[in-house]
Symmetry: none
Subunit: 249 residues, 2 copies
Amino acid sequence: MENLSFNEYQLVYNFFSFTFAAMAAGTLFSWLNLGSVSASYRPAMVVTGLVTFIAAYHYLQIFISFDGAYSAVDGVVSSTGEAFNVTYRYVDWLLTVPLLLIELILVMKLSSSETLNRCVVLGSAAALMILLGYPGEISTDLAGRLSWGLAAMIPFLFIVYVLFFGLKSSIEAQPIEARGLVSQACWVVVITWSFYPVVYFLPMLGFESAGVAVEIGYSIADIAAKVGFGILIYMIARKKSEAEGYIAK
Amino acid sequence: MENLSFNEYQLVYNFFSFTFAAMAAGTLFSWLNLGSVSASYRPAMVVTGLVTFIAAYHYLQIFISFDGAYSAVDGVVSSTGEAFNVTYRYVDWLLTVPLLLIELILVMKLSSSETLNRCVVLGSAAALMILLGYPGEISTDLAGRLSWGLAAMIPFLFIVYVLFFGLKSSIEAQPIEARGLVSQACWVVVITWSFYPVVYFLPMLGFESAGVAVEIGYSIADIAAKVGFGILIYMIARKKSEAEGYIAK
């Protein structure tokens, strides 16, 4: 990140802390509600909690790394010389982005062979997307950022295609009470994920404070894509459990 | 905070530690009692515990920030130059204040469409109230404090209106054993929340030690509004579980 004003420092510092708290709360929400859904949907809820748990861990590390990289004394912010570790985000995404698609597949309760197949294919595409985006994120020239970013769009478009066309018959086989929510969940994936490339390409506009905007932007996108999406998965699991006559005891 | 005497330093330091302990205890109370209420009321108890969990995290951070901002050596208190981060409170409230209203809605056990609708409307009003209060809290002039504070009163009054009038028929539909407690819970929200604007406007009186009074005042208000209110939610959940013939096993 470029030279930070005190207000920018405060904003980024508090946003990292806020995102950690939101991820930790989301994790506990998913896991403490395991008994609120029938056994068929608990694996989906476990994975939903894992996504926010992994993110909570990484946001704590990002927060600590930021705290170590900058010092604010008497209202003046300076670099300490320690590097702010941007790689935490990509390590996080490498684990959580495939798991996000897996929680969606799990809550759909497909046949076990289809579940395995979809999880492997979508999970691999998601991991490939992150691996291709990383060299662009740490690239110092904008051409590098652009070309790796565009390469990462290919697996992203493949995932969009599977969500809207590949899963069509599986969505239509969902119980009527949950069908709308499942199709909504596919839309939420595409909409929340679309926010990431926007943030990714922000530094290409070359404005001041682009580094701050990237950190805040990714944090907002992560909360929407992980906690927000997780609440939707819980609602689907609840609706389907009720439709199947499950009453939590 | 202004220059602190040793006694003031001790008071604030111990009050932050006390508030952390109270929030952590409240969290464990809610979650360990999940099995003491029937399944219908567990989501309310999960959220009640999330509120105090998020607050416990922030009070720990507030405590650490205070410890870093001041040093007390040989009975003399001095600033270290590191800022005491007042923003933690607002980050906390942004998450917990909407969740406080959501725990009340959840324990009422309304239809799923009314639950979703009430949670979104009341939660958004609560978040707006916090977002409007923040610029006033960090404002250096009293006119700024006053005008943002008054703006934040608008969503607050809307929430009061919904609690007393909008929810009237939903409260009347509660089982007779719990009706009194639910209506009491609405009163507790309004009374405990009214304490915050009083604390907020304290610095306008311009007395010495106003900063200390604000920190202590907010901490007391937070314990009443989160732990105290949480115990009331538990009592409602318990009464309704008993009325429905649920016997904890």
